[in-house]
Symmetry: C2
Subunit: 385 residues, 2 copies
């Protein structure tokens, strides 16, 4: 790829523009080098120069700065091949790290990822937040966070926290339907205080779970990810970017109506998807006490009922958003093909667009919302080194 076909390339030409413009170009090019190295295959300084169109001298100066800043390491030259040996560059796995925290309805989690997005320490624990004041849940999450930070032994530069509710543009958890006591809680600020001032960015759990599918599950650029749990939430990805709507709170699929006269919902509405296909509704319908038993042998009637309710809500979402792919995550992924088939049948009957919507379960091992919360920190750092 040459420089003429790279719209994102800003050639570095000292002497033109002021000092501010020079710094801007430098920052841009630092990020460009990081992107090339983060891209996957090993690449040397010469390789980066060839791919970006920057001169070798410029690349070397940028690489030195990135090595000094802890972003890159340079390995010994690989053997074999012809010509001068090239030392492959890679992201410094001891460099700036990201902390992910999750506060769910009945659990907490924390993990640390390194610059490459790999999980270096992770812990989860049950923690019942429906009956506790928010401060207790935040304190429990902070304890777990301190443990994974100590275990990973990396310089954590920021944190993301996944929350089961509506996060406002100011980062405040406005409302979590399944946690009635959590109203207008500045979770980010409270967590930052308990973690010695690390900047903390709150996000919606379902949005982050969708990003995990995108970043670590190899999803294409357009899909809706719906995650089943005590709450039911969706994250929407369009054009490879999270779609958050006009006010940043898009994707509340759990509160789309599937039965107008159905049971009252924690959100104040009636007949929402969550009441028909949330974890507690499915356990009740199956007559079993916990998720493990449900997943071990889900009754056909329960799969059919959940598939129908999910299909109705998803048909509306597909008709409105025109997404080609639906990914079933969380509990829904564990219910497997029986649920996929029931959802597919309902969508076939109710969706206007063609070709038919592709329904599949989420990729195992992505690390979900918790890892995505941590990875968002390092991805941002790589974009703005």
């Amino acid at each position: 790829m040459n420089s003429a076909s790279r719209p994102d390339l800003v050639p570095e030409s000292p002497g033109t523009g002021g000092a501010a413009a020079g710094r801007h170009v430098r920052r841009h090019n630092l990020a460009l080098v990081l992107r090339e190295v983060a891209g996957g295959e090993p690449v040397s300084r010469a390789g980066v120069a060839a791919r970006t169109g920057l001169t070798r001298g410029t690349v070397s100066s940028l690489v030195e700065e990135l090595i000094a800043g802890g972003f890159l390491t340079e390995l010994a030259a690989a053997r074999g091949g012809t010509g001068r040996p090239a030392n492959p560059l890679q992201l410094n796995r001891s460099g700036p790290a990201g902390l992910g925290v999750e506060i769910g309805v009945d659990h907490v989690g924390a993990c640390v990822v390194d610059l490459s997005g790999a999980v270096r320490a992770v812990r989860t624990a049950p923690s019942e937040h429906r009956s506790q004041p928010p401060a207790a849940g935040v304190a429990r999450a902070a304890e777990l966070a301190a443990e994974v930070i100590a275990e990973a032994g990396l310089p954590v530069v920021g944190a993301g926290v996944a929350l089961p509710g509506v996060v406002g543009p100011d980062g405040v958890l406005q409302r979590a339907p399944n946690l009635p006591r959590w109203v207008d809680v500045a979770v980010g600020e409270q967590l930052a205080q308990r973690l010695g001032g690390i900047p903390v960015t709150p996000g919606n759990e379902a949005d982050l779970a969708a990003l995990a599918e995108l970043w670590f599950g190899g999803r294409p650029a357009d899909f809706l990810h719906v995650s089943g749990g005590i709450g039911v939430g969706a994250g929407i990805v369009l054009g490879g970017e999270p779609f958050r709507g006009a006010g940043g709170r898009a994707g509340e699929l759990g509160h789309v109506v599937v039965d107008p006269d159905g049971p009252a919902c924690s959100c104040g509405g009636r007949g929402c998807l969550e009441q028909a296909a949330g974890q507690e509704a499915l356990l009740r319908a199956a007559g079993v006490p916990d998720v493990e038993q449900l997943v071990a042998a889900p009754p056909a009637t329960v799969l059919a009922g959940a598939g129908r309710a999910l299909g109705i809500a998803l048909a509306g979402a597909v008709n409105l958003l025109d997404v080609p792919t639906v990914v079933l995550g969380g509990l829904y992924a564990r219910l497997g093909n029986g649920l996929v088939d029931a959802v597919t049948a309902e969508l076939r009957a109710r969706v206007l667009s063609r070709p038919p919507v592709d329904v599949r379960v989420s990729q195992p091992g992505t690390g979900g919302a918790l890892r995505a919360a941590a990875a968002a920190v390092v991805r941002e750092r790589l974009r703005h080194p």
Copy 2:
């Protein structure tokens, strides 16, 4: 505004870059001058220079080219004031014009707008397309188009056509739920042939109706416009741009489910919004034969039922898209405050986000989808003169 604060300004500096770059800059600056003149208040060459940061010489040369191309006219100087009189520039109302065509379920329309977007000729006529082959409907629309083109007497450079169904990325009408015979119809091509080769761009009626609200109704940048008719469709505007979803077919609110076991719908589904709150359902519920009688005295029960069904579907859309404003158009606008109140009450009960959704009727006199289809042509021409 000076040039430093104009990120869109590309200074014209002959001698740098090649001829291709020079032409690119020239085209960019022609569009920039047009945008300043189209902005509203009268502005002279000197005013354009002051606002854009281009030199007076450059602006004069650009203005001469735009006058020669039929885009601009220069009026006589206004009297009064001090200093040299300034001749105000305006868009040439005899310049390139846009044709709008609408093929509805039971009507056709055509209009011509001038460069300023003002309607210069418009005609609509009943035309029943449910029973006719598509070619007959296209022929009727082309007749009407020829009439308005003759009446306006302007050079029509392109056309837009508003269609009541799903338009694919290739411009083909894939499916129109209320016109079962219109499947995979290349309406644009057929219309272009009948209009002597004018380029024709098909679009969804609801998307164009939303753009009419945005361009001519003074709406803010984020809203969902739902238009009631034989079909029920929505156009979504986010950040001042139409939101079309991953496949370009977003906004099919009419086929969002409001009653899972409700009546079968023309789309193949069941209990869609259109079956509960489409024009025919409302006429049936009110026991009147036509829209005029319905609008003259809408029964309270009909308003309540329509408001409830619309509210259920819109609550889902707001929960998914997080739009702050809902605009009721078409038949819904004519049903007035009774319907607004019923929809508002349903949304209050069912929407998760805050502050409450603002529900209002569409602005009268925007010209709707028909005018927007025509205006899209001249807006594009002004952006790329």
